[in-house]
């Protein structure tokens, strides 16, 4: 149907963008897991893949921007659509940055902290699953508003779990016997891991805002 053709093309592109961002986050998660299990070669492969996925996501985002400014959607909605896409894209950026941190700075994670780092990495980068579910639910328009909001709430809850893990691990790092530079480096590594869930939470907030706007 020709009605809202451009708008539907934008939706298809957002879904494609979301798929690539999800792949990027999952690949970054694998890279992190391999790194923490000391399989550097596999970690490098996945980090490279994550980089190329992030670039791909950027290209799709540019396509979406061009489509929007060539007349898709009413001006009032364009900003909301693009803000959502931009916020999702930041999740891919954060996931790639996390990979880069592992592979570029090679933080020396002590064995006793390995499982904690693994847990926080899985929880933070795994948040993309909830985010994708919420965004798809909204974009396809076949979910009730309350269901979309349930999904966004789930993103918030997962981010809180990440915060809890971050708190515990930060404490573990700073009460350890490691030298201060080492402790700071591990904390920076942890910051880069939790950045992913922070960005996903922002994207969830943006989605919730769009949902609220449509409620009469």
């Amino acid at each position: 149907m020709a009605l809202f053709k451009k708008e539907k093309e934008v939706i298809e592109l957002i879904i494609k963008h979301l798929d690539v961002v999800e792949d990027c986050a999952k690949t970054s998660l694998k890279a992190g897991e391999f790194y923490l299990q000391a399989d550097i070669s596999q970690a490098k492969d996945h980090a490279r893949k994550s980089q190329s996925l992030e670039s791909e996501a950027d290209l799709i985002r540019h396509d979406i921007r061009d489509k929007l400014y060539s007349g898709a959607y009413l001006p009032l909605l364009r900003e909301d659509v693009y803000k959502l896409v931009e916020s999702i894209d930041k999740v891919a950026n954060a996931a790639e940055a996390c990979c880069d941190f592992f592979l570029n700075q090679r933080p020396a994670v002590p064995k006793e902290m390995g499982s904690s780092f693994l847990a926080v990495t899985r929880e933070s980068l795994g948040i993309i699953v909830s985010l994708k579910l919420a965004v798809l639910c909204y974009l396809k328009g076949d979910c009730k508003i309350e269901t979309v909001r349930d999904h966004t709430r789930e993103i918030g809850l997962q981010e809180s779990r990440v915060d809890k893990l971050e708190w515990d691990l930060t404490k573990e790092i700073f009460i350890s016997e490691l030298d201060f530079a080492h402790r700071l480096h591990l904390k920076l590594c942890l910051d880069s891991i939790v950045e992913v869930s922070d960005r996903a939470e922002d994207a969830g907030d943006q989605l919730e805002l769009a949902t609220l706007k449509s409620m009469a």
Partner: protein
């Protein structure tokens, strides 16, 4: 013709806001695009359905053929008070001003004034906003109920709602052309200068020019001053106002576009709760509605008497 064009310009300047104030206010389209839509649809409304009100203004209230001087005074005095209201950003009524002006001049020339018709018109000035308010109140409840029942939303859905709101703004512009073009050219129609259709086209074009040159001021009051509207609210307000205006246009009764849209916006505001409505703005508007026809009638009457006394 110049005086008629002046009134037409006033209608465009003051009433553009009524057609698109809510749509521009909620950010759906730019004021520039809104003016283009108003121009097209008000000309269409004037051409296709402007003849009913033109007949009422021309011969319906004052039964005698008015002289050139009387027509000019009626039009200029009515236009002046609408210009004044527009300057102070008060959405006043050109219909009320012109009816006031025509009655004032009718009394001044000792013509037969059809007071029964005049009372019907005055009654419609009360009935129209109340009817439209009830309509928009009901429609907004219906939209809310539907949205909450299906509880679905997406960018595509919001986009579709936005287009519906723009479509309803076009309908208001059409109804405004149908109801108000006759106000501008009705008194001239009896002078036989131009055929009625051509006069209505001229009225429509003057409305479009007024919209483009001076329509922005009142748009802010209607769109944001009374109650800030979202997309469904703008749609409900506009479709209700357009329906009310169209209804009275077909009956040949000149009603106020301002009162229709303000009534509709208040109706939507009631659904959101009384706190959403700015009472100060409403009081200013009510005062404008009361004073504009009264002053227009008094000014037409006194001006005519003065000119006749001085030059007789």
């Amino acid at each position: 013709m110049g005086a008629g064009a002046y009134v037409g310009w006033n209608i465009g300047a003051n009433d553009t806001a009524n057609c698109v104030g809510t749509t521009v206010g909620c950010g759906l389209i730019s004021f520039r695009n809104a003016v283009i839509l108003v121009a097209i649809f008000s000309i269409l409304g004037a051409l296709l359905q402007g003849q009913y009100v033109m007949k009422t203004i021309g011969k319906g209230i004052v039964k005698t053929d008015l002289s050139y001087l009387a027509v000019i005074i009626a039009l200029v005095c009515s236009g002046f008070f609408v210009t004044l209201a527009t300057f102070y950003r008060i959405p006043s009524s050109t219909s009320q001003a012109i009816v006031g002006g025509v009655v004032g001049i009718g009394l001044a020339v000792n013509a037969e004034v059809d007071f029964a018709k005049f009372i019907v018109i005055i009654e419609s000035w009360v009935i129209c906003p109340v009817m439209v308010m009830a309509l928009s109140f009901g429609l907004m409840h219906l939209i809310r109920f539907t949205l909450r029942k299906f509880e679905t939303s997406s960018f595509l859905f919001q986009n579709a709602m936005g287009w519906l709101a723009i479509g309803s703004a076009c309908y208001v512009a059409f109804s405004m052309g149908a109801n108000n073009a006759g106000n501008a050219v009705g008194p001239i129609a009896n002078l036989g200068i131009l055929p009625p259709k051509l006069l209505l086209l001229m009225g429509g074009i003057c409305i479009a020019v007024g919209a483009a040159t001076y329509g922005r001021k009142v748009a802010d009051t209607v769109g944001k001053g009374i109650t800030p509207l979202d997309i469904p609210g703008a749609f409900a307000a506009q479709i209700s106002a357009a329906f009310g205006l169209h209804f009275f246009s077909v009956l040949g009764i000149p009603v106020s576009t301002s009162s229709a849209i303000v009534g509709a916006v208040v109706g939507v505001g009631f659904v959101k709760g009384m706190k959403a409505i700015s009472r100060k703005t409403i009081m200013t508007i009510l005062l404008g509605w009361l004073l504009t026809p009264t002053f227009a009638a008094a000014a037409s009457f006194l001006m005519y008497k003065l000119i006749i006394t001085v030059f007789a």
